[in-house]
């Protein structure tokens, strides 16, 4: 498993659009992708789960990827969050 901590910088946090951009980008990966926030792991391929975490701007999360393409999945996830999730 690979993981990395990162801060959410897009203004509205993980609301509908950023969450769906993120989950849709993660879905094609074979690896399990989880977002850990406040001690709970959320399925990053589920927009509903991501939104239910109520992650706001400035929050620090950890992205965990586990599987055959875990390195690529993590790279993509971090890139997306750094670019503000299309917000």
């Amino acid at each position: 498993m690979v993981s990395q901590k990162i801060t959410i910088t897009n203004e509205q946090g993980m609301h509908m659009r950023p969450a769906s951009v993120f989950s849709q980008a993660m879905t094609p990966f074979a690896s399990d992708v989880k977002v850990v926030f406040n001690g709970t792991a959320y399925d990053a391929k589920s927009v509903m789960m991501l939104m239910s975490a109520c992650i706001k701007c400035g929050a620090e999360i950890e992205v965990q990827c586990d599987g055959a393409d875990e390195a690529d999945a993590l790279k993509k996830a971090i890139e997306l969050i750094e670019s503000g999730l299309g917000d």
Partner: protein
């Protein structure tokens, strides 16, 4: 008269059509034939997706892409593994499709409606829309067709769902009243996009009115009249005509230059709080950003935003404004704005204490981070630095020294920035006003902050009801101060703007024209109104009025004269 939430401006008068909601009743039986139940569910999902896509396309064409996103969100939600996937699992375990849909949706509705975030709570109503649509498909219930209502209809519904909205024929619907929803709910967004007057959150309205009742919907004030008296009705007919005329007049100012009646150009900028608001400023035809409050970056977070985080936000605003001015006010913390992680000590008199530029210069390391981010962003547009709450000239000099240091560092590291980036200051204290001539030698521009200037000049806490009567920008002392600041700026050849609420006040605008203000910065929604009022005053008329105003002794006399002379 019934009160509700004013959600979409304008006045609608017409005949009520109540949209009755069907009861979505079913028996939650144990399913024997799981395979065919699964197929019934899958078919319903497919039908839901097809219908939703069609409605989204329709809304995109008729209203706009932003509004269509609501329905596209519904598609994303239903295809989510934790939605249709979970429902499928429950059906496989023997539940009927209806109860699987209801159970999963209700769980998410419960979860989202408890969140302390308006945007997230809004998702609860999305899921509720999805649930109702799916149940209707499963139970074979046809939606009420509101596309065929007669012209002049006032729609009354418990809630206006996006699917209902997609059927609205704008020409036929004069107004909307609902029982639920707030200013940011979908009903409100869609009503505003369709420019239909709407009042939301009117309790029990669907059960207290009947079809064909006459209703007035005042979406500006947020009030509704059912079967009004003749005199109220005739008053509102006149009000509606006036509103329509005014709107048409204001629309005529879209895309026009801001000029006074005698042809002198002034700048009309916007006050914003986030980069996203810059889009709104552009939509509202703002000519630049006169005040970008940087506090949003520091609030709602638990750490000092990094240089990169701040740079991204400033750059975004600069790019949205496409080369138009973006004046960024550096952190204005303290006073009534507390940011817990900065650990500013509680003070006896926070407004007279460690706030704004005083705090920033006392914490140069973190101030440096913000200034660097702003200077970096200057490579992407016309970015300017504005220092809040200055009281002596050393403060401007200190900030300029820091900026010079940053430029030197950037030159060494080959980091791009605008070499002519301007450093100006807010003039919002009596101290700064009194030495505005000295300040003008150091600052590249002034911006008058009327809220603080009034508070400090009048020595009044406007939150204190016992003294709030003294809080008025039309006090002779405050007006003299404003006039003095503008004259000092003009004499030194620097632009003088105003970014307080007063810049959009129809009573204040003629005085500002007379004094020689060069830049008005207003809330984006007030751009056209301000441009319209500015266009009605010539320098000569404004001067004549200002001379009279300055000869008066009291605030009451001044306001009375300005009201009498107002041009709206």
């Amino acid at each position: 008269m019934i009160n509700g939430i004013a959600a979409s401006r304008g006045i609608g008068i017409g005949s009520i059509c109540v949209i009755k909601e069907h009861e979505l009743k079913y028996e939650a039986v144990k399913v024997e034939d799981v395979e065919s139940e699964k197929k019934r569910f899958d078919d319903a999902i497919e039908q839901f997706k097809a219908e939703t896509m069609e409605m989204a396309e329709d809304i995109r064409k008729r209203i706009g892409p932003k509004e269509a996103e609501i329905l596209e969100g519904h598609l994303v939600m239903i295809t989510d593994p934790s939605m249709s996937g979970e429902m499928g699992k429950m059906i496989a375990a023997g539940q009927c499709a209806e109860s699987a849909v209801e159970a999963v949706c209700d769980m998410f509705i419960g979860m989202f409606s408890k969140m302390d975030d308006e945007m997230m709570r809004q998702r609860a109503s999305d899921i509720s829309d999805v649930k109702v649509s799916l149940l209707k498909i499963l139970l074979g219930i046809e939606d009420v067709d509101i596309s065929k209502v007669a012209p002049g209809t006032i729609l009354v519904a418990r809630d206006l769902t996006p699917s209902m909205t997609s059927q609205i024929v704008k020409e036929n619907v004069a107004g909307i009243i609902t029982e639920v929803g707030g200013k940011t709910s979908h009903s409100a967004i869609l009503a505003r996009a369709l420019e239909i007057p709407a009042v939301l959150s009117v309790p029990d309205i669907t059960s207290t009115v009947k079809d064909k009742d006459t209703a007035i919907v005042d979406g500006t004030e947020g009030v509704v009249y059912i079967n009004p008296e003749g005199d109220v009705l005739s008053q509102y007919i006149i009000k509606r005509e006036e509103y329509i005329k005014k709107q048409a007049e204001l629309q005529g100012f879209m895309g026009k230059e801001t000029v006074t009646a005698d042809g002198k150009s002034v700048e009309l900028f916007c006050n914003i709080g986030t980069p996203k608001d810059a889009k709104k400023a552009m939509e509202c035809d703002g000519e630049g950003i006169g005040l970008f409050r940087s506090e949003f970056l520091f609030m709602d977070t638990n750490h000092l935003p990094t240089e990169d985080e701040q740079f991204a936000a400033y750059k975004e605003a600069a790019e949205i404004m496409q080369g138009r001015a973006v004046i960024i006010r550096t952190l204005d913390v303290g006073g009534d704005k507390d940011i817990p992680y900065l650990n500013i000590k509680k003070e006896e008199n926070p407004f007279l204490g460690y706030r704004a530029v005083r705090y920033c210069l006392g914490n140069k390391d973190s101030y440096m981070v913000q200034l660097r981010a702003i200077v970096r962003a200057s490579a992407f547009g016309k970015v300017k630095i504005m220092i809040p709450l200055v009281t002596c000239v050393e403060e401007i000099r200190a900030v300029k020294e820091m900026v010079a240091e940053i430029k030197k560092d950037f030159d060494e590291k080959n980091i791009a920035y605008d070499k002519d980036i301007e450093v100006g200051c807010m003039i919002e204290t009596p101290a700064a006003s009194l030495i505005a001539d000295i300040m003008a030698k150091e600052a590249d521009f002034f911006s008058i902050g009327t809220n603080d200037l009034t508070q400090y000049t009048m020595s009044v806490d406007r939150g204190n009801a016992d003294v709030a009567y003294l809080y008025s920008t039309f006090q002779p002392s405050v007006l003299r101060s404003i006039k003095h600041i503008i004259e000092c700026g003009t004499a030194a050849g620097i632009p003088v703007g105003m970014c307080g609420e007063a810049a959009a006040d129809p009573l204040m605008i003629p005085l500002l024209i007379s004094f020689g203000l060069t830049e008005f910065s207003v809330n984006p929604v007030l751009v056209l109104t301000a441009r319209c009022i500015i266009s009605k005053w010539s320098k000569a008329d404004a001067d004549a009025l200002a001379a009279k105003v300055l000869s008066l002794d009291t605030e009451a006399e001044i306001v009375a004269l300005l009201k009498e002379s107002a041009k709206e």
